[in-house]
Symmetry: C2
Subunit: 289 residues, 2 copies
């Protein structure tokens, strides 16, 4: 049996897991260290803990990457990783110089859900994480689609209203301005807080979720019209409140899909693998190679 380590590096926590035969056999969670030195000590320490011979290590990073050159380009939440050749450094920690692969965290999420989660058996899957922003990954035949320059699937920055809100990226009317937590933040609330009110039957709260769902549906329809996925998988913190917005998302999305076949058959599903999806996807980076 081959053992693969998956590491999901998040802004606040790092998840390590050991995957064998597509099953999690061991897992660990640590707080993300605040300095570069502490970060690499933690990485080294948690990797050598494994006594099994490791076939490879996959790393998911919340950052813009140069996939070909194996470089972290820009990690807004972990700036000490900027310009870091992370896979090469991790390779140095490993006894037998096992294979090491790296990808964007949203791509890892999408890969995990496409291979072992809500998108199983579909040749075209788009995995989307709804949180402080919108991350996404496209998986074609169980492989991450990177595009020509490694930025395929940056759907959060599609303009859905070209003269709309200014986005932190400098553009206007980006999808994530309308369908991430930014929607709620602009209204001085979070989806989690609003959920409490909606659960108590508050009409304003329910309407707000319905409005949010519409915006989400608009962007998903764009994705369907361009990519024509079989399944769209929604993950991330905001997706936990999906029972309050999914109906309006489905309705708005359906209205805006041009193909009658896609309109009828495309499925929008909730992610299945929970908080470990990123680390599972990271481990799968190597298994699929």
């Amino acid at each position: 049996m081959k053992y693969f380590v998956g590491i999901d590096i998040g802004a606040t926590k790092i998840i390590f897991l050991l995957l064998a035969n597509n099953k999690i056999v061991k897992k660990k969670k640590i707080p993300t260290p605040k300095t570069k030195i502490a970060f690499f000590s933690a990485l080294k320490e948690n990797l050598v803990l494994e006594t099994k011979p490791i076939a490879g290590v996959g790393i998911g990073v919340p950052a813009l990457l140069d996939i070909k050159r194996e470089l972290v380009l820009n990690s807004p939440n972990l700036p000490y990783l900027n310009n870091c050749p992370l896979p090469q450094l991790v390779k140095g920690f490993l006894f037998k110089k096992s294979a090491v692969a790296m990808d964007n965290d949203a791509n890892c999420f999408a890969l995990a859900e496409a291979c072992l989660g809500a998108g199983q058996e579909a040749e075209v899957v788009c995995g989307i994480t709804l949180g402080s922003g919108i991350g996404a990954g496209i998986v074609l035949n169980r492989k991450i689609y990177h595009g020509a320059y490694g930025s395929g699937g940056e759907v959060g920055h599609m303009s859905i209203k070209f003269d709309g809100y200014k986005c932190s990226c400098g553009s206007f009317g980006c999808f994530e301005e309308y369908a991430s937590e930014k929607f709620f933040k602009r209204r001085k609330i979070s989806s989690k807080e609003l959920e409490v009110e909606a659960s108590a039957g508050d009409k304003k709260a329910l309407q707000l979720f319905s409005d949010y769902g519409k915006y989400l549906g608009i962007g998903l329809a764009n994705i369907v019209n361009v990519l024509d996925p079989k399944i769209i998988v929604l993950g991330g913190g905001t997706s936990k409140t999906s029972k309050f917005f999914m109906k309006s998302t489905q309705e708005e999305c359906s209205k805006r899909i041009i193909s009658p076949l896609a309109k009828k058959y495309v499925r929008i599903k909730k992610a299945k693998l929970g908080e470990f999806s990123g680390a599972v996807g990271a481990a799968l980076l190597l298994i699929k190679k």
Copy 2:
């Protein structure tokens, strides 16, 4: 040497050509017949004209297709083709029951440009036709990307302003409402007429082209953010006036691309193969199989 027939069925003309070794060795243009009977007679007649043994026939159709079931679903300009199993009927006309393939006309355009035109050598090409609407095709490693239900690449119906103009498809703010001839028509002019004024140095005409170019740039940026193509190839009637709008297209597109690599390297080019691109792409449907 193998000979392939490519047929490009347009609303007003049908182009037949014979492709051998990626070169056009014979071509013919006829007006599109007005009735179904006349259409099939014309098809049959022009196919048997070829004395060379034909390895296959590819057909490009201006319609929504069910690729897997080889059916024309909906052809707004040639309604007599609706629900027609075109490839099967054409097969009946051929002496040796050669292979017959069918695809959407914009997909054929994109395939031709990706294999033999402005997109050569690029692994990810998006070919876009700017005309009365916007058609598009995505070509990955010289193969048409169809998506899960055959409608991949319907970029003309991305919402770029979700509360914008109502589109003929029923949705709002579709890309083609802003960046096809519809833009000019709304201003009681065509791009061709406006070109005359712009060529004479008319400032209002130049400004109008610049405005058009911005809208086009917005949609192209969306395509770059989702698909990350290496090259975008622009064809169709409106693209003939590109010298008047390309600068503003490039500028607006660049502003809205999130990835610094894609921003720097993606290329927007004019199509190279001219009016025969659709028929060439149709012939390539079989060569690439």
